[in-house]
Symmetry: C2
Subunit: 191 residues, 2 copies
């Protein structure tokens, strides 16, 4: 059952009682997202949070120059949210697109907010997960500053070998912050 994956995931970040787990999970609805579909598109207000059960998403933004910039890839066990848009009801800068047929557990904003009130442990859960996320973002920034594109590519492929297989080189390049032509040259050299 898909909720089991969610339960297992959150249990790594906070201890919730059986009742709390049930309360938490019951607001999440399973939804199938076909390949190439956008779960969220730049300009829309994000009114949900999602947890990937199956498949893969790319979260990216398109800047003024028209370049795609990939923030992250989300496979099983990753969260999909645009915090800024969700919190402040503002149009999102992000696109969330399924790279293959996928399944997500979705919670509506109204239910999420109610959950914070009715199950205080959910505050801790998201506090802890958010703090872990900060650490990850900080580390990625440091890597971007201290490593070459080649090193970053190697780090990415060795850290996420199972995600890499689902991606095109173009998508990987937009995650690393380089052109896909240059990634092609990197791959040639390191072979």
């Amino acid at each position: 059952m898909s909720h089991d994956i969610l339960v297992e995931h959150i249990s790594k970040n906070a201890q919730l009682s059986k009742w709390e787990l049930t309360e938490f999970c019951k607001h999440f609805q399973l939804k199938s997202i076909p390949k190439k579909t956008f779960l969220l598109e730049q300009g829309e207000v994000c009114t949900f949070e999602g947890f990937v059960v199956e498949g893969c998403f790319r979260i990216f933004t398109i800047d003024k120059k028209g370049n795609e910039n990939t923030l992250y890839f989300a496979t099983k066990d990753w969260w999909l949210m645009d915090i800024d848009s969700f919190m402040n009801r503002k149009p999102s800068d992000l696109n969330m697109q399924a790279l293959e047929d996928s399944k997500v557990l979705l919670i509506r904003k109204i239910d999420k907010l109610a959950l914070y009130e009715s199950v205080p442990a959910v505050e801790k859960l998201f506090r802890v997960m958010s703090q872990k996320a900060i650490v990850a973002w900080q580390r990625r920034l440091i890597r971007n500053h201290s490593q070459t594109a080649t090193e970053r590519y190697q780090h990415f492929t060795s850290t996420y070998p199972n995600i890499v297989t689902k991606l095109t080189d173009k998508q990987i390049a937009s995650y690393l912050g380089i052109t896909h032509e240059f990634l092609s040259k990197i791959k040639k050299k390191t072979n």
Copy 2:
């Protein structure tokens, strides 16, 4: 009184009752940190969290190649913490150094953890602050990928004009992820 600054700051992120505010604040001790002093040094385990009341800190890491990489600068109203080290009792990768005579409000880890239990609103407070921080880290990453060093320098100086005046060009360059020689050339060109 220095606690007033803290109260004002947290009130922007969560609504705490008078009692909760008092409970929260009473665990913070004011400490003066002379210029150039390290509040935390790479390799130590971080057992506190700090809130800057006065002065300025630089939070940076030194990588294997010996290069300094500045994560952020913290002036009045900013938090000082190494989440990873604090949460997981692991040696920190970070240095927190006062750039001028500074004052911080410090809370010990043991008190912070107790506070999460005794004042649940503190969970929400740090959940909200952490989520805001994630948004900021994501934005910075996108900027690093989509903008040139010149654009990033201009963004930094216009976003933090009051911090810039406290910094050397070397420190700014290490924040932008470029060499100080190149920053010097950028400044010459844009004049």
